[in-house]
Amino acid sequence: MTLSISLGPVPHRRSHASRTTPPLRPGRGGSAGAARARSAARQRAGRRTSAHVPAVSRAAASPSHGITWETRSFAAAAAAIASGFLLAALYLSQITGLSARDYEVQRLEAQRDELRRQHALLDVQLARLDAPARIELQAQRLGLVRVTTVPVMQAAELLARK
């Protein structure tokens, strides 16, 4: 089915109206009379149209609204296209944002992993520095010597002194 959109009046209706209007006779009554005759013909044509055209068509063609169904179809199609465009733009915007954020997350994850790696290396370094063997060696280098004995006083001795 083909949809044709036209901004002008519907051709067959215009021809129908012209067929129901009697031809003007320019020789009788001058220009004022001609104008009155055209007005009367329009009113007759209007009354005759009102009597024979269905209500829906009448509303569509109603000059009081001034919007034809073609216009409405066009507007609806245009609105649908615009909406689709907007939705697509919104979707693309979201996807782009999501992608950017995901790449950022990946970057942060890589940064986190690197920091964890560095942390593990520092833990190892700390363990090496805390090793009793290293501390004992450093103590020896500094000239410290191991205490062989520490004088101990028994509780009984302390009490006796008091």
């Binding site: 992608s99 790449y103 090793a131 009793p132 063997a133 520490v150 004088p151």
Partner: protein
């Protein structure tokens, strides 16, 4: 101007043919080859990766790291992108401390991609990265690191090139430490970044459990220091020190010599890999007299004061068994049997026990069979079945010959004497922590070896052995020490004993009344038979000083605290 109908038709036909060809091609792509092309397209962006699980950390009882896995950077090259290969090789040679020639050879090999140096020290990796040489890159690889180098090497074991734990804790708990790898199926862009809205299916890796050992790094270091000093002093071939907590069988330290660096196993002597504390059996010699006497005391056959007349030897099964150095002690109590380490006295006690009860006592103390310690590579030693015993075996077994034990078995048996008579299964792992939380190792009491009264009597007798007997070198000024020396011959392949080759040992604990640790020191083939035993007791003494200081044990004797 009128349009030529012929031209229109020709044009129409051309369009028709072109459209038809296009339609056919599209049909081929979209319908016929769809599956193949789709899989090719998917393969270009899809990557199916294994997410490695992090191997668990091993810590000592105070939380110090003993083994951990770190990601180290490995340097690779895409040789075609390296512009000045000679200059690059020279620069890398300086930073890596290597000859640049092999590096240049690799860069000039024509390979599309090649490793230059794997698992770099972090400082070197940073220095190379700072050069910004095009065509060089890094990728991380896991490496098992042991921050204390050779300390506790035998107890820890190592991880081989395939990532499998071998020996020690690494071997025994490999399945626990290893974890479960995960899987990641993801679509990637040309920069290897995961496509944000692409396929992503991930099964996370389950990292290995973290183990906390029962060993104390300070005590372990002290044990290794004393062992190394004793080995050096006596020019001994090998040696070991085992330290146990008698209250639950926890291993406080386990040192073995020769040793190795678990980070560089490939260049180690294979013999050095053997943990002599659990994978080496020896004839314990006189240290076993304590077990013989304990069994006789427990059976009510002797008391510490039971006396016999020592004539310097004993005859059993038609064989004469002499005292060491031909000593003749005369009237000797059972306590003095231990103080003087009289072989004839041990035979006297064993004769009262009889073969059956002596054999049962050895089994009760867990000698000659695996302890069940949670370390890989343990052996059982050997105590021949009773049916294979000759009459003389009662005598020789009484002073520790004709049977073999591991140092850990001997330490475990002495721990039973120290703790009141309960034989515990030695263990090295105090707890493991995984995703489900912490799981502590409960001590396993295997059986009661002797009655508490017997154990108390043995503690007193062994204290007397240190205070008044041959083990006086192990005395501490402010603490009571209980223990027994041992000097054993080494059997040869012919079934006899090697001449002038001995194993010197000392097994003891302190403080004697409330023991905080049990230690067994063994020196294999020391230069001197007598001095070897003295050196073993000295090693025990040096170790005891550190253990008692570390544990902040209050002195139980007046005098100077170590």
């Amino acid at each position: 101007m009128p349009v030529s109908q012929t031209r229109v038709r020709v044009l129409f036909v051309l369009f028709l043919v072109a459209s038809s060809l296009l339609a056919v091609r599209l049909t081929q792509w979209q319908a016929i080859d769809r599956g193949r092309l789709a899989s090719l397209a998917t393969a270009q962006v899809r990557s199916d990766e294994l997410i490695p699980a992090q191997r668990g950390i091993i810590r000592d009882r105070n939380g110090a790291i003993l083994a951990t896995t770190v990601e180290l950077r490995s340097l690779y090259a895409i040789p075609s992108r390296v512009k000045d290969k000679a200059a690059t090789a020279a620069a890398l040679g300086v930073l890596l401390g290597r000859d640049p020639k092999p590096i240049l050879d690799r860069l000039s090999s024509g390979a599309e991609w090649t490793f230059i140096h794997r698992r770099l020290p972090e400082a070197a990796a940073k220095a190379i990265a700072a050069l910004g040489i095009e065509g060089l890159g890094f990728e991380t690889e896991p490496k098992r690191v042991y921050p204390n180098d050779q300390v506790a090497a035998h107890l820890l074991g190592f991880v081989n090139d395939d990532g499998v734990g071998v020996y020690g804790v690494e071997g025994a708990y490999d399945d626990v430490l290893r974890g479960t790898p995960g899987r990641l199926v993801v679509e990637r862009d040309p920069s290897a970044r995961a496509l944000p809205v692409g396929l992503r299916h991930a099964v996370p890796a389950r990292d290995g459990a973290e183990l906390t050992l029962t060993i104390d790094l300070v005590i372990q270091h002290a044990a290794e220091r004393e062992l190394a000093a004793a080995i050096a002093k006596e020019k001994a071939a090998a040696g070991t020190i085992v330290v146990l907590d008698p209250k639950d069988g926890a291993i406080l330290a386990l040192a073995s010599y020769p040793t190795f660096d678990p980070s560089a196993v490939a260049v180690s002597d294979p013999e050095a890999l053997r943990d002599r504390a659990i994978a080496w059996a020896f004839e314990p010699g006189s240290t076993l007299k304590s077990i013989t006497v304990a069994a006789a005391l427990d059976a009510g056959l002797v008391t510490p004061a039971t006396t016999y007349n020592d004539v310097g030897y004993a005859v059993i099964g038609g064989r004469r068994l002499n005292n060491a150095l031909g000593k003749v002690w005369g009237p000797t109590t059972v306590t003095q049997v231990l103080e003087r380490s009289a072989n004839a006295g041990a035979v006297f006690v064993a004769s009262k026990l009889g073969a059956e009860r002596l054999h049962a006592a050895l089994a009760t103390f867990g000698l000659g069979r695996k302890t069940g310690v949670d370390l890989a590579g343990e052996i059982g030693g050997r105590v021949r079945p009773l049916a294979e015993w000759y009459p003389v075996d009662v005598g020789t077994a009484a002073f520790g010959q004709g049977l073999t034990t591991t140092p850990l078995q001997l330490a475990s048996a002495y721990a039973a004497l120290a703790n009141g008579g309960i034989l515990y299964r030695p263990h090295a792992v105090a707890s493991r922590r995984d995703a489900d939380g912490e799981h502590r190792t409960e001590p396993v009491a295997i059986r009661r070896a002797v009655a508490p009264e017997t154990a108390a009597a043995m503690r007193a007798m062994l204290t007397s052995t240190v205070d008044n007997g041959l083990a006086q070198n192990a005395r501490l000024a402010a603490f009571s020490v209980a223990g027994k020396t041992g000097t054993a011959q080494i059997p040869d392949a012919a079934g006899s004993y090697e001449s002038d080759q001995y194993i010197s040992s000392f097994a003891g604990f302190a403080p004697a009344d409330d023991p905080r640790f049990v230690a067994v020191v063994v020196l294999e083939r020391p230069e001197s038979r007598i001095l070897g035993t003295l050196t073993a007791t000295s090693a025990f003494k040096g170790l005891a000083l550190d253990v008692l200081r570390t544990a902040r044990v209050q002195p139980d004797r007046a005098g100077a605290r170590p």
